[in-house]
């Protein structure tokens, strides 16, 4: 039986009070409740405070480059599609540096789960604006405030017909845990954008700021209604929905590849025979 102790990783080097601790707790509980063992899946992460996540939860880990977690996760999933692959990254990591990969992960619908630690700021580099920072956010590199409109990842995901689109909040661990479990058990590319207050560099989007605005999507809501999903995803002002905004089952990328239908690539014979290999050249 897997227990929470199995998920005690390295001691986190995050700031005291950081929202990442709650994300870690939610994930550890979700794993225990799903009965998954640390060696049965892999977390791919990028760079930023979120990138350190897999070290702190004990599991197979590929902590790669800033912005490049999704292609690594996709390659890994294609090598061994029977193994669950999760990506933990930040808003700068995934929405900034890795934006093109996000679009294409949603297009492919690779069965990888993406959890975005969205603190609306660059923490590791000490407080610059991120793609999700509010317009006007002043920082040491944005002297006149962030001039670009902030990115709404949820509306982007719904527009891309992403298979599973949800938002969680580090201030509500139980709710986040349930969202994680749903994302993990959903078959298809899943994004969970997680509001995660940065207690050191973001003085605007605090726990209180989120608590004032966030509400849980009511149980009657039908996440398979895409028009309704667009409306919910657009709510990013005084009221912000938490929960599953959109879900839609469509064929996953791995299922469309005949060469891995029988077994994963990694379980296939490593080397081909050489007999007749030259025949086509005569």
């Amino acid at each position: 039986m897997v227990t929470l102790q199995d998920y005690e990783g390295q001691t986190p080097a995050w700031c005291p009070g950081c929202g990442n601790f709650s994300i870690r707790k939610a994930f550890q509980q979700a794993m225990v409740e799903l009965g998954m063992e640390p060696h049965q899946f892999t977390i791919v992460s990028g760079i930023g405070q979120s990138g350190k996540f897999p070290h702190y939860v004990r599991c197979n880990t590929f902590n790669g480059l800033h912005g490049r977690s999704l292609p690594v996760a996709t390659g890994l999933k294609l090598a061994n599609h029977e193994m669950p692959v999760f990506v933990f990254c930040g808003d700068g990591d995934c929405y900034g540096e890795g934006g093109n990969h996000l679009l294409n992960a949603m297009r492919r619908n690779i069965n990888v789960k993406l959890f975005v630690h969205d603190n609306q700021i660059y923490g590791l580099t000490k407080g610059q604006a991120s793609p999700t920072s509010l317009e006007g956010t002043v920082s040491n590199t944005q002297p006149f405030g962030a001039l670009s409109q902030s990115l709404n990842p949820m509306i982007l995901a719904v527009a891309m017909d992403c298979s599973f689109v949800a938002r969680g909040f580090a201030g509500d661990i139980d709710h986040l845990k349930e969202l994680m479990k749903q994302a993990i058990t959903h078959r298809g590319f899943s994004i969970v954008d997680i509001f995660q207050p940065c207690v050191t560099f973001n003085r605007v989007n605090t726990f209180d700021w989120y608590r004032k605005r966030c509400y849980k999507i009511e149980p009657e809501y039908d996440p398979e209604d895409r028009i309704a999903a667009f409306q919910r995803a657009l709510e990013l002002g005084e009221r912000i929905p938490l929960g599953v905004i959109y879900k839609h089952h469509r064929p996953v990328f791995e299922d469309k590849l005949p060469v891995i239908r029988e077994r994963p690539l990694v379980r296939q014979a490593p080397f081909p025979g050489i007999d007749g290999a030259l025949e086509e050249f005569y």
């Binding site: 390295q10 063992e37 640390p38 060696h39 049965q40 899946f41 892999t42 791919v44 760079i47 350190k52 897999p54 070290h55 004990r58 599991c59 197979n60 880990t61 590929f62 902590n63 790669g64 480059l65 490049r68 999704l70 292609p71 690594v72 996760a73 996709t74 390659g75 890994l76 999933k77 294609l78 090598a79 061994n80 029977e82 193994m83 093109n100 990969h101 679009l103 294409n104 590849l257 005949p258 060469v259 891995i260 690539l265 990694v266 296939q268 490593p270 080397f271 081909p272 050489i274 290999a277 030259l278 050249f281 005569y282």
Partner: protein
Amino acid sequence: MDYTVKLGGEAGQGVDTIGTILSKVFTRAGYFLFSHQDFESRIRGGHNFFQIRISDHPISASRSLVDILVALDRQSVTAHAQELSPAGMVVYDATTLKEKVDRPEFLDVPFTEIAVTHGGSKIMSNTVATGAVLGMLGMNLEIAYEVIRETLKKKDEQVIKANLDAVRAGYEFAKKECLRCSFALASFNTRKMLLSGNDAIGLGAVLSGCKFYAAYPMTPSTGIFSFVAGKAASHGIVVEQAEDEIAAINLAIGASFGGVRAMTGSSGGGFALMVEGLSLAGMTETPLVIALAQRPGPATGLPTRTEQGELLFALHAGHGEFPRVIFAPGTAEQAVYLTNKAFDLAEKYQIPAFVLTDQYLADSTWTYETIDLGKIKNTDYRLRGDAFRGLASYKRHAFTENGISPLGVPGDAAHLVVTDSDEHDEDGHIIEDAETRRRMVEKRLLRKLPLIRREIEPPSLYGSTKPDVLLVGWGSTYGVMREAVDLLSAKNVAMLHFSEIFPFPETHTFDYLGLLRNTRLTVCIEHNAMGKFASLVRAETGYEFDRQILRYDGRPFTVETLLGEIDGHLAGL
């Protein structure tokens, strides 16, 4: 015998189709063949050519003189008629070129009219031209019939018959009308295989158990991608066209981390985007093979032409210090073996390995009676299944005497496989302390380097073992340098060719440095403007070549153009 057939025309006119069919016919008839292509970066118009040289003895380069010039457009005549050999012929369709040339070396074959009369459509005019060349050479048509049938096997019998009629009509017309044709073909019966540089790399990859290939299309590397993609179904390979080259290399790294042999390929501009990922492979000790097919830069440069400008780029690419190997095959055969060796060393030492080519090598074809696939070496160095499960403990980046840590497949055992782009400890977790950092650099880099270096073969020497003149080159110039040496045998010339470039080869099995130092005149020949290889040799050994021949117009040397360059340097001897 030694004949050159040159096919010239606009993009989209069928130069490639005629060239491909003729190449197949010649090799199946048993001739040795070498072909290279010169094309513009456009889909229609412009001027392209496909040059095929056939011989009764092994050849490995193009000649300047042309024996049969197939002119599908006027520019073929203006650009190439002066390349004709004394007995050479131009074959053309006066109606298409809107000009009748009244000279004995010009043979007007109404390709289009014959195509309509005998094949029923002007689409067949390329087939007529193919037939005309075979008629001028006086070859037997049976092999051409066979090749056309195979090429069109998915078409209706009617289409096949029309093409067979068209090829025969072109053949008969040319045979009857070309009174001046005096080509004498030796007769052969051992069929040869025909292999291009790009196909050779693809073949080497497939035979090495490459299970994953991700790339973004870029000339001249795309042929490798399409070759491997063609084997996806039969060999169980996942190929993915990535959104960009950054994704391509990270996809390949992810697949390799997952436990399969993975590869990516590109040309300079695309590889420039991969550089960060290259460093990631170095840090995480993830095996990776990269095919880098060079073309002239900077930036977009000459997209469809050739250059050897990226040797030092491949060598220095990637931030930080990590080991790598660089191979630069000189022939299609070497490309098969060296791609295999790249996979082997990449996995054995958990490093990135390059197969560095250029457009000339990528798109040229060579003939062989066969290739010895017994030389393919496949060892699975990964720790999988029961062997992994049976371990009492496991550390992905364990400190070992030879620097090689066990490469476990994640998910195969209860042991966790952890790696990081940050500096890490033996377990793969992030560290900051100086001692672990120092030990990890020693493990990852310094301990492996001498072992990797020991795997590298010295350069090959061709020609006199005590030469007065030594021509030195690397990669794709192998063939043309070799033929130059043959033609200069009276002058005691030899070639020293490097195809395993980095780590720079040691000298204890072959003291090539001693040879260089004791040779009266050494000439380093490269397709770039700054002598990239010469500067590598200087950096690695302190040796400085006496002379350099550098070509950087995007075109490959023919035997004659190279001889012309060499002549200038021999004058004072």
